[in-house]
């Protein structure tokens, strides 16, 4: 918490009395405060400082931790292929770091403390140097502690070397995020000790009565008993919610009404980045279709939709073509509908679009726990089952998917029959009356650079005990792992992820792209972050090209912090040494040499 004196002191120094809006980069200000487009840090040399500084969020003063005194951090623009130097100075009294999310930089420049480098100590300046291996929309953020929740995130755009396959008249960057005035460690502690702290969406006695009136008392009771019997809630959609979060677009809440300006008939490119700590957003522009042209920085075949669900850390570039000289709302609604952020696009600055009413809170169903309804019928079967949902139950297609999971207090649930849910819209968008993105609809624009069939398959289970707020892979928290996940250089691996929890998890692997196995043939969408739905079994193919130790984690900040993290070690093929063994002398690759490894990452010629 910030004392008032501390705030005033800093504010005076930074001249904040002239108006806190001036602390924001021009492109993130409301139009009334001078946002007429993008302002960016460009070039090949960048000086970035990480500080604590005052911010104005939703009309209230707070203290942020971030880059160059801006929330979000400044927009950085690179050009594909250029040699970049970034000097990052840490003015905090704790360690910091910057991770270049989605960029295939050499692993020692990836910026994950304890995995790829030691971290940046207080007072120290760390120099990141790399050749930019790709183009597209990315972002950067702290990988230290819970700093990301405090504002340490910013957009990163890389212009292509050649011509851009997407044509547009103007572009805007939209950084979606969530801000809390509570200290993030306090939030984490509350989740640990009372995981329901922020959930104000539970079903109530009046809800029960309404259901009983609709479906009959017996059915309503059976359903409640089923969830209660499993000690779960069908309303565990998000664990940190609008009860503490202010949802932001470019640092602005709905009341601030961030503005983007267009001339009717223009093609406007929106580069949308979900830089939240914990919020999966539903994105839509009522009355305006959006054509997705890029996902996670890589071009996709244009796909027109009316809404899409966006996991934490995913990015989508869309084209809109507003024809009318009217205000259009850009709506980012949290997945659990506990809040939203709305910005306005219009022909004149200062216009305000209608703010749509929040839609009803979604309720999870049996599919989300990969239970089939028939198996759950009759209370008798539930009694004494004690959550061992993978009990043989006479179902033919039943395999024991859970055998790899380390059981214990951290694993409340092992799914019985995970299913492919790639063809479904996200949680809560099943019944909306318009076109919603499904992962099966995405096709990469260019043919995939590596179309080999995978040589082997590894299975990773997403596991949790919501009650204890324990999150893990394969039932093992990061702090308890006995081995990283080993890939060998040049190998093509299929990773199959099975979600044994009731929540959506945006899973992110550093240093490599996931080729999403969605029926796309040689045009699989390639993503750095993939939402795995509750009860889902999903596969991605990975080319292990880039030697190094790479972080692999759920991008929900507090899930990662609770243990849902691992390391993928890509070991050099020629030296067949076990993990932890030193490279033989002479193996050491220079930064320059290892950059050359990275040409596969740049998908575009």
């Amino acid at each position: 918490m910030v004392s008032r004196r501390e705030f005033l002191g800093t504010a005076l120094q930074t001249g904040a009395l002239l108006g806190l809006a001036s602390l924001l980069p021009a492109w993130a200000r409301p139009s009334s405060a001078g946002n007429m487009g993008l302002e960016a840090l460009t070039g090949t040399n960048f000086d970035l400082t990480v500080d604590r500084f005052p911010v104005m969020i939703d009309g209230r003063k707070g203290m942020a931790t971030g880059v160059n005194g801006h929330l979000p951090a400044p927009l950085i623009r690179f050009r594909e292929g250029e040699e970049i130097t970034l000097n990052v100075t840490n003015n905090l009294d704790e360690d910091t770091s910057i991770h270049w999310h989605g960029l295939l930089v050499p692993f020692e420049m990836d910026g994950v403390p304890g995995v790829t480098f030691p971290g940046i100590r207080p007072g120290e300046t760390f120099q990141y140097r790399f050749a930019v291996p790709q183009n597209g929309t990315y972002w950067y953020h702290s990988h230290s502690g819970l700093q990301e929740q405090l504002g340490h995130y910013g957009p990163l755009l890389i212009e292509p070397k050649g011509t851009d396959p997407v044509s547009y008249d103007r572009e805007y960057v939209l950084v979606l995020s969530d801000w809390s005035f509570e200290n993030p460690y306090r939030i984490f502690k509350k989740l640990k000790t009372m995981s329901e702290s922020y959930n104000f969406n539970h079903r109530t006695v009046p809800d029960f009565l309404a259901d009983a009136a609709d479906e009959g008392v017996g059915e309503a009771f059976r359903e409640r008993a089923m969830w209660g019997g499993m000690r779960m809630s069908p309303r565990d959609i998000s664990d940190v919610t609008g009860a503490t979060y202010h949802f932001l677009i470019n640092g602005h809440a709905t009341a601030d009404n961030w503005n983007g300006v267009f001339n009717p008939g223009e093609r406007v490119r929106l580069r949308i980045i979900n830089a939240s700590a914990m919020t999966i957003f539903n994105v839509r522009m009522p009355g305006l279709p959006m054509t997705i042209v890029q996902a996670d920085g890589l071009h996709v075949q244009p796909l027109e939709v009316d809404e899409f669900q966006m996991g934490v850390a995913e990015t989508y570039d869309v084209i809109i073509e507003p024809k009318e000289a009217q205000a259009y709302g850009f709506v980012a609604e949290s997945i659990d509908r506990s809040g939203q952020a709305v910005a306005t696009f219009g022909p004149r600055p200062g216009m305000r679009a209608d703010v749509p009413a929040m839609r009803p809170v979604p309720t999870l169903n049996m599919k989300d726990m990969a239970m089939d309804h028939g198996a759950m019928d009759g209370m008798g079967k539930m009694d004494g089952m004690d959550m061992k949902m993978d009990h043989p139950s006479g179902h033919e297609m039943h395999e024991d998917h859970g055998s790899k999971i380390k059981r214990g207090p951290g694993v409340a649930n092992v799914v019985m029959m995970p299913s492919s849910r790639l063809g479904e819209p996200g949680t809560g968008l099943e019944d909306v009356p318009h076109r919603v993105l499904r992962y099966t609809d995405l096709r990469s624009l260019e043919p995939n650079p590596d179309t080999r069939a995978p040589e082997r398959e590894i299975e990773v289970h997403l596991t949790s005990n919501m009650e204890r707020y324990m999150w893990s892979f394969d039932g093992v928290q990061f702090s308890q792992i006995t081995s990283p996940i080993i890939f060998h250089e040049g190998e093509r691996v299929r990773m199959t992820m099975i979600n044994n929890t009731m929540m959506n998890h945006p899973i992110h692997l550093h240093g490599m792209f996931f080729d999403l196995v969605n029926g796309g043939g040689h045009h699989m969408p390639r993503k750095h972050t993939v939402i795995v739905k509750p009860g889902e079994k999903l596969s991605v193919d990975i080319s292990a090209e880039h030697i190094g130790d790479w972080a692999f984690h759920c991008h929900l900040l507090y899930h990662m912090f609770a243990g849902m993290m691992q390391v993928v070690s890509v070991l050099p093929r020629e030296v067949n040494h076990p993990p932890g063994m030193k490279h033989p002398p002479g193996h050491k690759t220079s930064t320059k040499a290892s950059m050359d490894h990275h040409d596969h990452g740049g998908m575009h010629e």
Binding site: F107, E108, V112, P113, G114, V115, T116, F117, P118, G119, K189, K190, K192, T193, M194, S197, Y198, F200, N201, H202, R203, T204, V205, P206, G229, R231, M382, D386, G408, P409, V411, A412, N465, E467, R468, M470, S472, Q477, F478, S479, Q480, I481, S483, P484, G548, D549, M560, F561, A562, G563, M565, V567, S569, P579, G580, M581, K582, H583, H587, K588
Partner: protein, 270 residues
Amino acid sequence: MKKFLTILMAGTVIASPGLAQHSHESEASGDKKPLWSQADEYYDPDEMAEARAAVLHHHGNSPYWFVMADRLETQIHEEEEVLVWDAQGYFGGDINKLFIKTEGEYSFEDDEIEDAEIQALWSRAVSPYWDVQAGVRYDVEPDGLSHAVLGVQGLAPYLFEVDSAAFLSENGDLTARTEVEYELLFTQRLILQPRIEANFSAQDIPEREIGSGLTDLDAGLRLRYEVKREFAPYIGIEWQKSFGDTADFIEASGGESEGTAFVIGVRGWF
């Protein structure tokens, strides 16, 4: 009191090895092979070892603490008014914790604490929803008696919160207590909580007015309003009854073996 402190310290000592649930911290001191080390080629291996230990520790193994006054209430009986407290707190990680529990009763009429106990327990998570707890209980009032405690605490199917324990006193008497709570949400903040507490004894303990078998039962209904999740005032009623020889003991000494009280209090946690 001195005896109690000795027992409490013993309990803490028993609990503390359990609280240190570490697997990787030894790496920094060099007696263990690192799980990954490719960055050591680029950075000082000692610094990397330290950072590695830190990143592992902070992702699933940081301890935390919790304090909760589940009930802090005035019970208004026909003839008397008492203040009742029931609180617990813990420190530890996901698997092992040190629990402190206290409950007791203060009489406004007599201006004295009639009952007061404190427990120090080592709590170990043994399954997704259950902790086994073992340690000591000391009755500060009325008689300074010490007990060994073995219990379970957790969440039963259908979301019943259960806290049960058996107590073996230093005199060799065996008793048990079980508490069950449930929550009914009228709104997200207005919550009705039924609660039952039952006490049992394996033998007559005349000096404590306890007979064998089910000794007494409290059944309460509390309606709380969560102003914040962490702070909720409530009102309610509680029905209390003693049974068998226990009731006889109480009646013989001029007490009531059955009664209903109106309660008003707060629930708070931090």
